[in-house]
């Protein structure tokens, strides 16, 4: 299978849903992907089994401040510089590109990066959703050493970091990013096929396209999306309050949804930090990170980003299970509720919502 121009709108819609409110706006990434595919041709989408054992896979993501990425858009040359550096370091060129994060803009833009490099895109990613920090990837949870980070900026600077662990990779990469004008392209981890097995979340690009396609032209977009995700509907209602505050470089906030129709009389509150992290009803947790919680427009089933939450919107909140990798002790330590400052023991969304 390969990705052509006609797949990109569905991929973008699916990535927005998997962004769980964060991961950045998919619009600019979609424009870049459409332009690159028109110029360089469609991008083959491959599985791990189609690569030689020692083939190099490059997980890529854009890193930076949203305000900057809306203004100082990526240079077309950034992926090339990273690929050249990898060839210099490993003595052979990369064989495939992978999205580090399928949720939001970093799920769509890899199509452009792969097209420009003439490489296939691996049908996998490192999160299965969106998370705000560099170490919150499946490769870290799987215990792969985060000993190599390569970054490329808009003017052509290339920075190679040899961090001692994943936490240092986040700290140093963030510092380089700021020096580069708060925008860079980053390869964290360079994987061989052997190492990638069990350390990446497979099938997520196909899944994002399927999720996007499910709602396309559906008579009941919300029902179609819920079915495609296997999601629980936490509430359908109206946004009645959105409160935001900036702490520690992130925008945190709370959104309140009052039930309408069958849900009249109920009230759900969402805790946000870029992404939707915890859903509460009457003080009871209904879903929590790393499970996925997405707010969608009730009529169109289009995902609503946390920045786009506004009073009066008619929305439905969906929640569904994360990849099993995140439910392991290391997974929960990396991206469970406590990693985001919530004093909560993780309980899977299936159990929290089993009795309505």
């Amino acid at each position: 299978m390969s990705i052509d121009e006609s797949d990109i709108p569905a991929l973008a819609r699916g990535c927005a849903v998997l962004g769980t409110g964060g991961g950045g706006d998919v619009r600019t990434g979609s424009l870049a992907a459409v332009g690159a595919v028109r110029e360089h041709g469609e991008v083959p989408l491959i599985g791990l089994d189609e690569l030689d054992d020692d083939a190099l896979i490059v997980p890529l993501s854009g890193i930076g401040a949203p305000t900057v990425s809306h203004e100082m858009i990526h240079s077309a040359d950034e992926p090339k510089r990273i690929a050249e550096e990898i060839e210099r370091l490993f003595g052979r060129p990369p064989s495939a590109i992978m999205s580090s994060e399928i949720g939001g803009s970093n799920g769509v833009a890899p199509v452009a990066w792969a097209a420009r490099l003439g490489l296939p895109l691996l049908d996998a990613d490192g999160m299965g959703r969106a998370f705000p920090e560099v170490q919150m990837v499946s490769m870290y949870v799987a215990g792969l050493p985060a000993d190599l980070v390569i970054m490329s900026d808009i003017v052509g600077n290339v920075v190679t970091i040899r961090p001692v662990d994943g936490l240092w990779s986040e700290r140093l990469a963030r510092a380089v990013c700021v020096a580069a004008g708060s925008s860079a392209l980053m390869a964290d981890y360079v994987l061989t096929t052997v190492r990638a097995r069990g350390a990446v979340i497979e099938g997520t690009v196909t899944r994002a396209i399927e999720i996007g396609r499910a709602t396309e032209g559906a008579a009941d977009p919300l029902g179609a999306l819920q079915g495609s995700l296997g999601a629980v509907r936490l509430i359908t209602g109206k946004l009645t309050d959105v409160e935001r505050r900036t702490t520690g470089g992130f925008v945190r906030g709370t959104a309140t949804i009052e039930g309408t129709g069958d849900d009249r009389g109920r009230r759900l509150t969402l805790e946000l930090q870029n992404e939707n992290l915890v859903a509460l009803e009457d003080g009871r947790v209904r879903a929590m990170v790393p499970d996925l919680i997405t707010v969608v427009d009730t009529e169109t089933a289009a995902a609503v980003q946390t920045e786009g939450l506004r009073y009066g919107q008619r929305v439905t909140v969906l929640a569904w299970p994360c990849d099993p990798l995140w439910r392991t002790p290391k997974g929960l330590e990396t991206a469970g509720p406590r990693a985001f400052g919530y004093d909560l023991d993780y309980v899977p969304v299936e159990e929290l919502t089993a009795h309505g």
Partner: protein, 524 residues
């Protein structure tokens, strides 16, 4: 003594004109159908108010025009100029070239060519590189264009590269130039799109201003002309010639400002009921609340500030059926088709009149409705007809209540100001609004809004959040005030009417995005 002013609003269905005296009272008003070429409707409305005014043409000092010319030109891809699209930022931004995502036909109509050349700034004000003046020359040499649109990375905070390139193009190529920092805020692609549309509208703007100037000269009026813009303020013709894209969206802004003026209420929800649709907006301090979302025009995303408007498919001409209403409308054919005019289509006007909601000067409407219901058959049939009308009013009220709630953002203490030709459709009490205000001359609120508008200027930039913040904000305020004066405001009357600070995330040093708007009455 030049103490009178005329406000004209060219809407989709009607062109309205009013004359205001020195005390701001409406002393003449007229409604005429909007014509396809717009100019004829404008002349007809102008002549109608002048006739009603009688003597005193010499006393008319100013004429303010709100028009949909620019919007229509973009929607219909008509009379647009060919624009050379120039972006300063390379090697940044090259992953998404200019005009990406534009509808093919609009791009074909507008673009004379596109280039991304060196230049632009980082978020902290450093140069990405010096502006590539030779690359600019290589791009423009031999290119046939009517105008150039120049967009530089982070120009709302650092506009000097755009200015340098503008000077070069004017001096060496003699072409008019649109520079993005005068047009939009942060968000490169949206600002660039607005800048390209602006450059494409230069010819349209010249046509409108010429039509207005000619119409005034033909009638021997020595009045000074102004154009209304999308934030409810005015600009001189010179300013409008440079920023024609700012006239887009002036209609809703005028009706909001007119509603505030006629009702004397500065904080309110305004509901403007027309023939086919109803627009809701919010007044904050007498000005329209602006939309936070990007605005799409003709299939192109832009980021200039527009009034936050919620439009619903409900108007005087909305067709009533059993069950339900609309979304279709008989529009301007209402005077032939509605029951109250002796026609055979049941409209929202008929339903409202049956419910006892009648506009001024609607003699005999109630009787005609009752006759129509009786003629619809006796007994059951007639009852069903009455039932349908009643249900239509309930549905319409439900739509208005729902829309008011959305616009009010949970606040229920603001009054609702009802304006527009179909304002009589609205109930006398709406949950979510403290009371319903029906000002005099509400049917021409938009023309009144044009007549009373102020001149304004705005600045949108990124500033450090540390010690230098307050000084930097003072400088931004001064710049906004200077821009208001450039737009025609009296320097002694300019005030800061809006100041917004938004903290930014993921940056090394704390920074805030600052938006300042200044406005003041026109200089004498």
């Amino acid at each position: 003594m030049a103490d009178l002013r005329i406000g004209i609003d060219v809407g989709g269905t009607n062109t309205d004109a009013v004359v205001l005296d020195a005390d701001g009272r409406v002393i003449a008003k007229a409604k005429r159908p909007t014509t396809p070429d717009v100019t004829e409707g404008l002349r007809a409305a102008l002549d109608a108010v002048l006739t009603e005014l009688g003597e005193g043409h010499a006393r008319i000092g100013r004429v303010m025009l709100g028009t949909t010319h620019a919007t229509n030109a973009i929607l219909e891809r008509r009379n647009l100029g060919r624009v050379a699209v120039l972006r300063l930022g390379a090697p940044a931004t090259t992953s998404v070239p200019p005009l990406s995502g534009w509808p093919g036909d609009l791009r074909a109509a507008v673009s004379a060519g596109e280039a991304v050349v060196p230049g632009g700034h980082y978020v902290d004000g450093r140069e990405i590189g010096p502006p590539g003046l030779d690359a600019v020359r290589r791009f423009l040499d031999g290119l046939e264009a009517d105008a150039v649109a120049v967009t530089s990375v982070f120009s709302p905070a650092s506009g000097d590269h755009e200015r340098v390139v503008e000077e070069l193009i004017k001096a060496e190529y003699g072409l008019p130039v649109s520079v993005s920092h005068e047009i939009g805020s942060l968000g490169l692609l949206e600002r660039e799109n607005a800048t390209v549309l602006n450059a494409a509208l230069y010819g349209v703007a010249a046509h409108v201003t010429e039509a207005l100037v000619t119409a005034l000269a033909e009638r021997g009026l020595g009045a000074k002309p102004y154009l209304a813009q999308n934030d409810g303020t005015l600009m001189t013709l010179e300013h409008a010639a440079r920023l024609p894209v700012s006239t887009i969206g002036s209609g809703p802004a005028n009706s909001l400002r007119g509603a505030a003026y006629l009702s004397g209420v500065a904080d309110a929800i305004v509901v403007d009921v027309g023939g086919t649709s109803t627009d809701l907006g919010v007044l904050a301090g007498g000005f329209p609340r602006e939309s936070a979302a990007a605005v799409e025009i003709g299939g192109v995303l832009t980021n200039f500030r527009m009034p936050d408007i919620l439009a619903i498919a409900l108007g005087g001409g909305t067709v009533v059926r059993n069950p339900g209403i609309g979304p279709d409308s008989v529009g301007y054919r209402i005077v032939e088709e509605a029951l109250v005019f002796g026609g055979s289509t049941v409209t929202m006007t008929d339903a409202a009149v049956a419910a006892g909601r009648t506009p001024d000067g609607a003699a005999g409407w109630r009787e005609r409705i009752e006759a129509a219901v009786r003629a619809h058959g006796s007994g059951d049939m007639s009852e069903r007809m009455a039932d349908t009308l009643q249900r239509a009013v309930a549905i319409a009220d439900g739509m208005v209540i729902d829309a008011v709630d959305r616009m009010a953002l949970g606040k229920t203490d603001r009054p609702l100001v009802a304006v527009g030709g179909g304002a009589f459709l609205l109930p006398d009490a709406v949950p979510g609004a403290s009371r319903v205000v029906r000002p005099e001359h509400a049917e021409v609120a938009n023309a009144v809004g044009a007549a009373i508008a102020l001149a304004s200027g705005r600045v949108d930039t990124i500033l450090p959040a540390g010690d230098s913040r307050s000084k930097a904000i003072e400088r931004a305020k001064e710049e906004a005030a200077a821009r208001a004066v450039a737009a025609g405001a009296d320097p002694s009357g300019v005030e800061i009417v809006d100041l917004l600070e938004v903290p930014l995330s993921y940056l090394s040093e704390p920074a805030v995005r600052v938006h300042v708007k200044a406005a003041g009455p026109l200089a004498r």
